[in-house]
């Protein structure tokens, strides 16, 4: 057990193992994404209320779910880096931010596009969209803080503190926004609830959610490998790797 943790802290080992994971995970992810997208786009029946525009759900919901989960992955890595001073956790945390921000961006844009045919307007201050917007701000805040520090080690620690503060705050923010929305909006506009979704629509959705998780992992690992190379650029193993 401990030797595994010890290995996790070793950059060359982590670089090698992530490389071999990516070799099979990346093609698998791309295939799953393609299958899920085609299934959702072409092989499911349209929603009886929203028609074909609901097909956006197969990218909107997975990206939103994974973007939120990504923040917790980032906070978890940040906590490890603060508590056990593990440098590779620092690398993981730093690499989460751009991936999470991109997924949040996708969730927002697809939500807006979905809104146009459904509500007749590009942007509605709906509880979920507002929450996603705040999540995007949180991600961008982490990135901005990281970039503001010259000392990247301090940057990692500061971002770890910020993400932990965010972890405590996200449920509060989400609940507040939900409550705020119920206060100000009539309950006439509603998404199809997940509970009432038809199985024929559910399976491709689950496949897409799984694929987005895998995609998050792939992008995270690729960013981590880049960051490891950058941080370890003076060490012997990187020199040997690059020279070969």
């Amino acid at each position: 057990m401990w030797s595994f943790f010890h290995k996790l802290g070793s950059p060359p080992w982590l670089y090698r193992i992530t490389g071999s994971i990516l070799r099979w995970l990346l093609p698998l992810t791309l295939i799953a994404l393609a299958v899920g997208a085609v299934w959702g786009l072409l092989f499911t029946a349209p929603d009886f209320r929203q028609g074909n525009s609901y097909r956006i759900i197969y990218i909107h919901v997975p990206s939103a779910v994974v973007a939120l989960a990504g923040y917790y992955v980032m906070a978890f890595a940040g906590a490890i880096s603060l508590i056990w001073k593990m440098k590779m956790a620092d690398v993981a945390m730093k690499s989460c931010a751009p991936v999470g921000a991109a997924l949040t961006f996708i969730a927002l844009v697809t939500g807006a596009i979905w809104g146009k045919p459904t509500w007749g307007t590009w942007w509605v201050w709906d509880a979920r969209i507002t929450s996603m917007l705040i999540l995007l701000f949180l991600y961008l805040g982490v990135i901005a803080l990281y970039e503001a520090f010259d000392n990247k080690e301090a940057a990692g620690k500061a971002c770890a503190v910020l993400t932990l503060v965010g972890t405590v705050n996200i449920p509060i923010i989400y609940k507040s926004v939900d409550w705020w929305y119920s206060l100000h909006q009539p309950a006439s506009i509603k998404f199809t609830g997940e509970s009432s979704i038809d199985p024929s629509m559910l399976y491709p959705l689950l496949l897409m959610i799984g694929s987005f998780y895998a995609l998050f992992t792939c992008a995270l690992l690729m960013n981590m490998r880049l960051e490891i190379l950058r941080r370890e650029s003076r060490t012997g193993w990187v020199r040997k790797l690059v020279g070969a």
């Binding site: 001073k85 000392n151 080690e153 301090a154 620690k157 003076r234």
Partner: protein
């Protein structure tokens, strides 16, 4: 008042500070590596080196202000007093208020003790003027007045002679020697050599030279 009565008993056993295998790298350049030494009661240790040699960094590591980015370990066995580059003097407060705050974490002092300490650094008559009317050297003196009140056995002083005139330097040197004689220890950085009749250990960061540290080094 002096440090004698307080520090003597507290630090009788062992070393006040122990550094093991300290190494620091900045911007790909190794400033020092595998630096091991112990600071014991009675030690007067001067850290030397050119600008950028890592003197301040070393002192901040020893004080515990730098907690990552270096290799090795520091064990602190006694309360310490650290005076850095900044004087921590608030322009809007008087020297008396400043000093009273500087030592507030260490103990409760009477007003006359604080005034005596200020008089000892040559600020008699300046106790109540706003500090922004004082010079940089006088700010430094407010800071140094703390040494007359401190009960911490271990002093870490970063360039304590900066902006101090010749008389001030002599008085400070005498104070440091007295502190060491009474069972305290001082680690300081300075470009100029101390002119004291007391054994001064030297740690040259550039050369990794350790002179007079033999009985304290490597355990």
């Amino acid at each position: 008042m002096s440090v004698a009565g307080h520090s003597g008993a507290a630090v009788a056993a062992g070393s006040l500070l122990q550094a093991r295998g300290l190494g620091l790298e900045r911007g790909g350049r190794e400033l020092f590596c595998d630096l091991s030494f112990a600071v014991r009661p009675g030690h007067l240790l001067q850290v030397e080196g050119a600008n950028g040699a890592g003197k301040t960094s070393l002192l901040r590591i020893l004080a515990g202000l730098s907690r990552y980015g270096f290799s090795g370990q520091v064990e602190r066995a006694a309360p310490l007093l650290y005076l850095g580059h900044h004087s921590a003097v608030k322009a809007m407060l008087s020297p008396r208020e400043n000093l009273a705050w500087h030592i507030a974490g260490e103990g409760s002092y009477r007003a006359d003790e604080i005034d005596t300490a200020l008089a000892q650094v040559g600020l008699y008559g300046y106790e109540d003027v706003p500090s922004h009317t004082l010079s940089a050297g006088q700010h430094r003196r407010v800071n140094l007045a703390r040494l007359y009140l401190s009960r911490s056995p271990l002093w870490l002083l970063d360039e304590p002679f900066t902006a101090i005139d010749r008389d001030g330097v002599a008085a400070l040197e005498a104070l440091l020697v007295r502190h060491a004689q009474q069972g305290g220890a001082v680690v300081l950085t300075s470009h100029q050599r101390l002119s004291v009749s007391y054994p001064v250990a030297r740690l040259d960061l550039r050369a990794g030279l350790k002179e007079g540290l033999s009985e304290g080094a490597h355990t």
